[in-house]
């Protein structure tokens, strides 16, 4: 591999001095799909962190007049009857009509009325992420009582757009927290097993094998069924992540164990050990630096698994429960055929699940390729 295959703009000199992280970054940057995915994921987490700022309305605000309100298209050019036009984003209002005979509700466009969308509208003071006081949002309706529904409304007339944004926070973070917990378990168990070997290695390998052999969803369901439904939402959130990571750690532990096992007898590790370094120093000072990149790659591949798991559990009614909002909780609304036949837009959270999981998978693939110094250059 010549230097120019990594990045022709770099002189070979710069490449020689580049740190391991820089090399990984150069290589990663060339993986175009992974780069796009990285931006997508960053955008998702940005929205998740500042969810309150992005949601135009209160996601729990019910409204009887807007039950199953269909999504409205945003139009940017506002043309008046006299032929003049201006740039002013707005949506066409819909009018609710009830069939006098069947009482079936249907919405039809109301040609005379428009709701204008305003950027950075003033609102009452709210606390973003729980502690930053704010008094404006990204977008909102111009009139105080006006509403618009970019993703439609659900069976209680709640704005799906705001709810999807609110769900982003819980769904994306449960992946992070869950993986964080499994990482701790996986690093400790896999590390000790790989470094010291012996009986602990045998036992933990068997445990990992066993955990991979049992079907996870029935076990997850069984464990979460034991959580009392009356529990505080925050406590439930943490218990669910604990349950998810109780099974999720095995994959990480396997990777860590494998790497430790392979590296234990490398010259530099043996040298450190012969110099009398304590195991903790050998592990953290000498072995960790060459492991971190791999661990990051496996972590980014473990997050989507967690997200899917939470979505599935909540969808079945055994994960998070309303009033918590996650993509799975939202999709539960789409569970019966009658409501989706009436309101297809209840599927929208599912699209976000797919995008997030897809992007995380590509990101993980890209990271894994970039982190492996021996990977063959493809093509």
């Amino acid at each position: 591999m010549t230097d120019s295959t990594i990045d022709p703009r770099l002189s070979s000199h710069a490449l020689d001095e580049a740190s391991q992280w820089k090399l990984i970054w150069y290589k990663f940057r060339r993986h175009r799909v992974a780069m796009v995915s990285l931006y997508v994921i960053l955008a998702f987490y940005f929205v998740a962190a500042f969810a309150e700022f992005f949601q135009p309305f209160d996601p729990n605000d019910t409204s009887r007049r807007n039950v199953y309100h269909p999504p409205q298209m945003v139009k940017f050019i506002d043309s008046q009857e006299d032929g003049s036009w201006s740039f002013r984003p707005h949506v066409q209002d819909m009018r609710l009509k009830r069939d006098p005979l069947t009482l079936k509700a249907s919405y039809s466009p109301d040609p005379g009325k428009k709701t204008y969308i305003k950027f950075f509208p003033k609102t009452e003071t709210y606390y973003m992420a729980g502690f930053i006081p704010m008094n404006f949002k990204l977008i909102g309706a111009e009139g105080k009582r006006d509403r618009f529904f970019l993703f439609g409304a659900d069976r209680l007339g709640r704005d799906m757009y705001s709810r999807v944004i609110a769900g982003t926070r819980i769904s994306m973070s449960i992946g992070l927290v869950g993986v964080g917990l499994s990482l701790i378990l996986g690093l400790m168990i896999g590390g000790v097993a790989g470094y010291f070997g012996g009986w602990f290695d045998t036992v933990s390998s068997r445990v990992i094998e066993l955990t991979l052999a049992i079907p996870t969803i029935p076990i997850w369901l069984g464990l979460s069924a034991a959580i009392p439904p009356t529990m505080d939402p925050l406590a439930r959130y943490f218990l669910i992540t604990v349950i998810l990571s109780l099974i999720g750690w095995t994959e990480l532990a396997r990777v860590v164990r494998g790497r430790f096992l392979a590296m234990r007898n490398e010259d530099f590790v043996v040298a450190a050990r012969l110099d009398g370094a304590k195991p903790s120093r050998v592990i953290f000072r000498h072995m960790m630096p060459s492991l971190v990149s791999h661990i990051i790659a496996s972590v980014s591949l473990a997050i989507p698994v967690m997200i899917l798991a939470e979505t599935s559990l909540s969808f079945l009614g055994l994960g998070l429960l309303p009033p918590s909002i996650s993509w799975g909780v939202l999709l539960k609304e789409a569970q019966n055929i009658r409501s989706i036949a009436q309101a297809v837009w209840l599927f929208i959270p599912g699209i976000f699940v797919v995008i997030a999981v897809l992007a995380l998978n590509f990101l993980g693939d890209g990271l894994r390729d970039a982190a492996d110094p021996y990977a063959q250059e493809s093509q």
Partner: protein
Amino acid sequence: MAAYILRRVLWSVPFLFVVSLIAFAIIQAPPGDYLTTYAARLEAAGQQVNYARLETLRERFALDDPFLIQYQKWITNIIFHGDFGISFEFQQPVSELIGDRMLLSIVLATSTLLFTWAVALPIGIYSAVRQYTVGDYFISILGFLGLATPNFLLALALMYYGVVYLGADVTGLYSPEYANAPWSWAKFVDLLKHLIIPVIIVGTASTASLIRIMRANLLDELFKPYVTTARAKGLSEFKVLMKYPVRLALNPFVSTIGWAFPQIISGSTIVAVVLSLPTSDPLMLDALLSQDMYLAGAFILMLSVLSIIGMLVSDILLALVDPRIRYR
């Protein structure tokens, strides 16, 4: 070979033991014992509580004894009498409730597995041999999408499509006229027709990952010198492929079947609930939601045993294709 199979079968005994412990721990997990819950529910419903009967039940499940003794009573009853306890919800022995449903679960899981292999193998080979062609990219994109879509979403989308565009109900495993009919050839054909959609939905994720694995394995082998040699000897391209690299690439492929099986069982749970299939899963979910724990525990135990058997079968298959494993 026989020795290997025997060793492998013996290995699954401790696995089965641990799995049964886990299942029992889940039964035990909700606070309070079931009889108290049960009595409370009866009282809440304004019904007479038969305390003498409760006392017999308490005795029968050893509810006042420590965990291990309760476990021992539960498991010996299962092994020696086929008695899984009683479902409080249905007031019937659990074993009567789960029989048919477990059978259908097994049918669904095995047919999904067969479908997965039948689809993943040729597509994986194609996509490796025609690397970087339109077909390969198309398959890769489909594969990634298949991995990222939760299968209940796929089930919902298909159901929506069925109801809105075809006017047909895709749920269930039998047509109404066969639901309670005795087994016959016509009923069997009807079951097969209804199986197709659940099998595709459940199998999507594992098919996608198996295609990727097959493709990667085959690509590792495809450019090795022995393939060139075979080609130089004048073998037809098809024979070159099938005789050498595919056989080698098959190895890691077969070993992934071990985890594909638990994954399929796991995935079918949600799909079965959405499509309301008469397999074990919807009843298990109901049992878990109403904390009918003996019923739920029996299902969890049986599904886990099923996937351990799946692992066992895949290990034996692996030993069949790879002699090195037999003599390890």
